[in-house]
């Protein structure tokens, strides 16, 4: 614990405590704006931020190490607990990597179901982000409106894979079970609902003058900086970097689908916000193309009971709701991976926070953290 008996820090030489007259405050590990156990040590000069120092590790569960003792079928389930808002997509990446190693051909039906699930997850994740970000900047009502629509997706997920948060559905070779008989009807119902509500979002928040002032020119990240910090996903696309894995390195059936990669060039919080809002509409577009065209066939390829990846290194990547998620497996030919490494989007996106926040006000920090869409277990793993 930091005991703050001397409120103004007088001339400490420690690099993390700044100069005389600076106010050092600990945002987190328990703080309403961090949405988890992120710990930011912020050096302030009045209301102006001089430095932001993220301290990580509060929710480190050593998932990578844990995966080394689990078989190729088992380790996928652990990855749902990393970025819990896009657990399907995490599982997808792991399944893809194992399939690459084993050279399993995934049936077309499974591919379509996987893409549908990915896009539903993406919408659900962005809905939650929209509500949580609005809450960060002081508007409480959007949270409940976003959750109303998200609930419909959760019900679809519950029907199909039995869980509402840490879903496990993707397995090497396809999906675990066939879709629920009501699946198509419910997804169509959701799309109708969502299309009528997405304009309401704009009315409630996007068009608000206070909101625009809070977002515009806040936390500007230039294109060069976005690349050098390794930002991916909506954060990089808000800065004008074209980096959608679904477009650049298509997996499954993404190359046959008609959708746009959303890019905004301003690089500020408003641009990142708009990218995500428009991405939700693109996800709906993808779902609309697929929902009536789910091909007949197997939902899972026939695989061996015990999976053994050949000796070598395998990498696969997917586009999660937060950016590029990579799985790197080093195999020694055993039933468990020799070494596994996850490239999580949240970690790289967080690293840009200090650069973005310097010189802005304390109130801007929450807006930036909101639009970075940080999921703490994804950062710490």
């Amino acid at each position: 614990m930091y005991r703050n008996t001397d409120i103004i820090n007088e001339g400490s030489q420690s690099p993390s405590f700044g100069e005389a007259g600076d106010l050092v405050i600990n945002v987190g590990p328990q703080h309403p704006a961090t949405h988890g156990v992120l710990h930011l040590v912020i050096t302030l000069n009045g209301e102006t931020i001089k430095k932001v120092e993220p301290h990580l590790g509060y929710i480190h569960r050593s998932i990578e190490k844990m995966c080394e003792s689990l078989t190729y079928r088992q380790f996928i389930y652990v990855t749902s607990r990393m970025d819990y808002l896009s657990s399907h997509i995490n599982n997808h990446a792991c399944a893809l990597c194992v399939e690459k190693g084993m050279q399993i051909e995934v049936p077309e039906r499974a591919q379509v179901i996987r893409v549908l699930m990915d896009e539903l997850t993406r919408i659900a994740s962005h809905e939650l982000w929209w509500g949580a970000m609005a809450m960060d900047i002081g508007a409480f009502t959007p949270f409940f409106h976003a959750f109303r629509e998200r609930e419909t997706i959760n019900e679809i997920m519950e029907d199909t894979c039995g869980a509402r948060l840490t879903m496990n559905y993707m397995v090497p070779g396809g999906v675990m079970a066939d879709i629920h008989p009501e699946f198509q009807k419910k997804v169509k119902g959701f799309i109708t609902l969502f299309k009528s509500k997405v304009d309401e979002y704009a009315e409630l928040l996007t068009g608000n003058i206070i909101f625009k002032n809070r977002m515009k020119d806040v936390g500007v990240l230039s294109k060069e900086d976005a690349i050098s910090f390794g930002c991916t996903g909506p954060v990089a696309r808000g800065s004008g970097v074209s980096c959608d894995i679904r477009k650049w390195y298509p997996y499954e059936i993404y190359d046959k689908l008609d959708f746009e990669e959303i890019i905004e060039t301003a690089g500020d919080s408003l641009a990142r916000y708009m990218v995500r809002l428009r991405e939700m509409k693109q996800s709906v577009r993808i779902i609309e193309q697929l929902i009536d065209n789910i091909p007949e066939g197997d939902f899972q390829a026939k695989t061996k009971a015990v999976l053994k990846l050949p000796k070598g290194e395998f990498y696969s990547r997917v586009e999660t709701a937060r950016g590029e998620f990579g799985v790197y497996i080093v195999s020694e030919g055993a039933t468990t991976p020799y070494r596994i490494k996850f490239r999580s989007p949240g970690f790289s996106n967080l690293s840009a926070l200090d650069h973005m926040a310097r010189g802005s006000k304390l109130g801007d920090l929450v807006a930036m953290m909101g639009t970075l869409d940080l999921v703490i277990p994804d950062i710490d793993r």
């Binding site: 703050n4 008996t5 405050i25 900047i137 009502t141 109303r148 002032n213 109130g363």
Partner: protein, 358 residues
């Protein structure tokens, strides 16, 4: 017609018959004090419940619905919970200031009850500088917030208090100037004079554009002055956890909470008195029959109806708007509201001198 002033007159006569005038006065003061304290507590309970129900309605929820029918005893249960909680004083805090601050907030809110006319001829203290008294006393509120923030020995509290200080001092100017608009038109600071001047029409209707501008500015300024969203920077949950009352718990926190809600009530009551005619019924020109029907509604209903309408407006702001940033907040006041108010008061003066109002 049943009215509050008849009850008070009856009590006054009865006390004067039974006791000497001195003792009667003392008893009357005690009764008035008890009434104010119970009104204070009642308002706290009602407004907290109202806020929760209004927010639930806006957020597609049900709100409290477990304690009592439709959850009407929820705030009572919360009060009991807060009463029995331990009121902690943090280590290293300035104990005197820390424990004094919530009481100052409460005292300020109570003092402000004095000049408010709750119904026809039903007012605790109709002093001749009524409106000035309200602006002067409400400024003391900032002292309690600064004290709480400084004494807590917490950086979040300190920042919240500093924000609040800057905010309240700035927005008082606009609030004061918009109050002055009505004073210019009425020619009196006395609350009863201001209400009586609106017998043939509320100022918002007969005061032309300057009064409408003043009303809008007044609502914005008092929302900021009572630290309500979208100007709740002093508390700013996502930035400063709970701002100046981060370290308060139990009844000490409850006093701040109560003072906030009573302050909302008071500023809305002042707004209703100045712009919407206080307890005056709605009268339209020469519609004699309509005016008579309106007169049958008790004056207290008119007063509380208008006040709660304004309170609802302020709650509506809170649950729909995002929060401003501190520099934007001060820009809004010093670059927009204050120049507009200054120009507006000139306009109002011209209207008053030339007799352009109805």
């Amino acid at each position: 017609m049943w009215s509050l002033n008849k009850i008070s007159d009856n009590i006054h006569h009865w006390l004067n018959q039974q006791f000497s005038p001195t003792w009667a006065l003392i008893f009357e003061m005690v009764i008035a004090g008890i009434c104010v304290i119970s009104l204070f507590a009642m308002l706290g309970l009602i407004l907290v419940l109202m806020e929760r129900k209004v927010s639930a309605w806006m957020q597609i929820r049900l709100g409290p619905n477990r304690v009592g029918p439709k959850g009407i005893f929820q705030s009572l249960a919360d009060t009991v919970k807060l009463l029995v909680k331990e009121g902690m004083t943090p280590d290293g805090a300035d104990k005197l200031l820390f424990n004094l601050a919530p009481f100052i907030a409460m005292i300020v809110a109570m003092l402000l009850m004095a000049p408010i006319a709750f119904a026809k001829d039903f007012q605790l203290w109709d002093l001749n500088i009524g409106v000035l008294y309200v602006s002067a006393v409400s400024s003391i509120m900032v002292i309690s917030i600064l004290m709480a923030g400084w004494a807590s020995n917490n950086k979040y509290s300190l920042m919240g208090a500093m924000r609040s200080g800057a905010q309240i001092v700035s927005y008082e100017l606009s609030a004061g100037l918009s109050i002055l608009t009505i004073v210019v038109l009425t020619g009196s600071l006395k609350i009863s004079d201001i209400i009586n001047a609106q017998a043939d029409g509320w100022w918002i209707f007969k005061g032309h554009i300057p009064v409408i501008i003043a009303f809008v500015i007044f609502i914005i300024a008092v929302t900021a002055e009572t630290n309500r969203a979208p100007f709740d920077l002093a508390e700013a949950e996502s930035e400063l956890t709970a701002g100046f009352h981060t370290e308060y718990s139990g009844m000490k926190f409850a006093l701040f909470f109560l003072a906030e809600y009573v302050n909302v009530f008071i500023v809305c009551a002042i707004g209703a008195t100045l712009f919407l005619g206080g307890w005056m019924p709605l009268h339209i020109g020469h519609w004699q029959a309509f005016n008579h029907v309106m007169d049958y509604v008790p004056s207290s209903i008119w007063f509380f109806g208008k006040t709660f309408f304004l309170i609802f407006l302020i709650m509506w702001f809170r649950w729909t708007f995002p929060r401003l940033r501190i520099d934007q907040l001060l820009n809004l006041e010093w670059k927009y509201l204050l120049p507009i108010s200054m120009f507006n008061i000139l306009l109002a003066t011209a209207v008053a001198i030339l007799g352009w109002h109805f």
